[in-house]
Symmetry: C2
Subunit: 166 residues, 2 copies
């Protein structure tokens, strides 16, 4: 159990029993009209991506939402929670609790906004900036996994296609 032949990453090989079952199965299973629904495939891909992301960054205990928060704060120091929530499509209430966790871990801090006493200005702490280096490297590693799965052309085409609409 300590060493394995294949790097059973528990994601990439999660379908080993599936292949077994497929082997044993006479007729292949049809998706029916699901074939015409982009949402089904987007969902499957998204689940794979999240699993791989979480696994790749497990050592740093950074989940996708946390990563996106840290990265956007880094790129826009001093922005408010409302703007951050809005940019990421996260609900304000949810962002509060996300930030609570990150702040408690010393990765970012809330300062009083100099121009609006209601709002906070968000910054990475020095520790946060330092931590984000390796974290971004691992995120890039995850992206490489994804590129391997999709093929570079397809990956790049998807990224370009989805980046546009905003």
């Amino acid at each position: 159990m300590t060493e394995r032949q294949l790097p059973d990453d528990s994601i990439g090989n999660a379908d080993a029993p599936r292949r077994e079952r497929l082997r044993r199965r006479r007729e292949v299973i049809a998706l029916g009209s699901l074939e015409n629904h982009l949402g089904y495939f987007v969902r499957r891909l998204q689940v794979w991506i999240f699993h791989d992301f979480v696994r790749t960054l497990a050592a740093h205990d950074i989940r996708p939402a946390q990563f996106s928060v840290l990265v956007v704060i880094e790129a826009n120091p001093g922005l408010s929670q409302a703007d951050l929530a809005d940019t990421l499509g996260i609900e304000r209430a949810r962002l509060v609790r996300l930030l609570d966790g990150l702040e408690k871990r010393g990765l970012m801090r809330r300062e009083a906004s100099p121009v609006d006493r209601r709002s906070h200005a968000l910054f990475l702490t020095e520790a946060g900036e330092k931590a984000l280096g390796p974290v971004k490297a691992l995120a890039a590693e995850h992206e490489a996994n994804l590129t391997e799965r999709l093929g570079r052309e397809k990956h790049d085409a998807l990224l370009e296609a989805l980046r546009e609409p905003g």
Copy 2:
């Protein structure tokens, strides 16, 4: 509240306050290295798709997972729960509860498998088949919404690209 000027579909116009805030905001907010992560955009798209799907099929109270279950049973009458769960990437335990709901609503039924006394053979009921017609029509309507959002070329390209790998 009964009538509106704009068809405020509560998804498509959910970013009305966002546009307001953007208007008021001096500098635009950068995504930083998030720009290079396909997962971020896939996630945003997937959320939009689910919202639109749920909204479009609200009258029938069919959610994406339920829809996929019904469609695959229709396309593969008599298949087992394990095979269905496996095909859709749903956990067996979760499928049990999904089927409980659908069966209680009279949309499908579990029969004893003739070849394996452990497993069930799944079928749509007559009511289920009858209901699935309009439901698939609404799902197609949702797909049209999605196509409108992405543009036909992009929609079709994405569908083709993601359908492949299985």
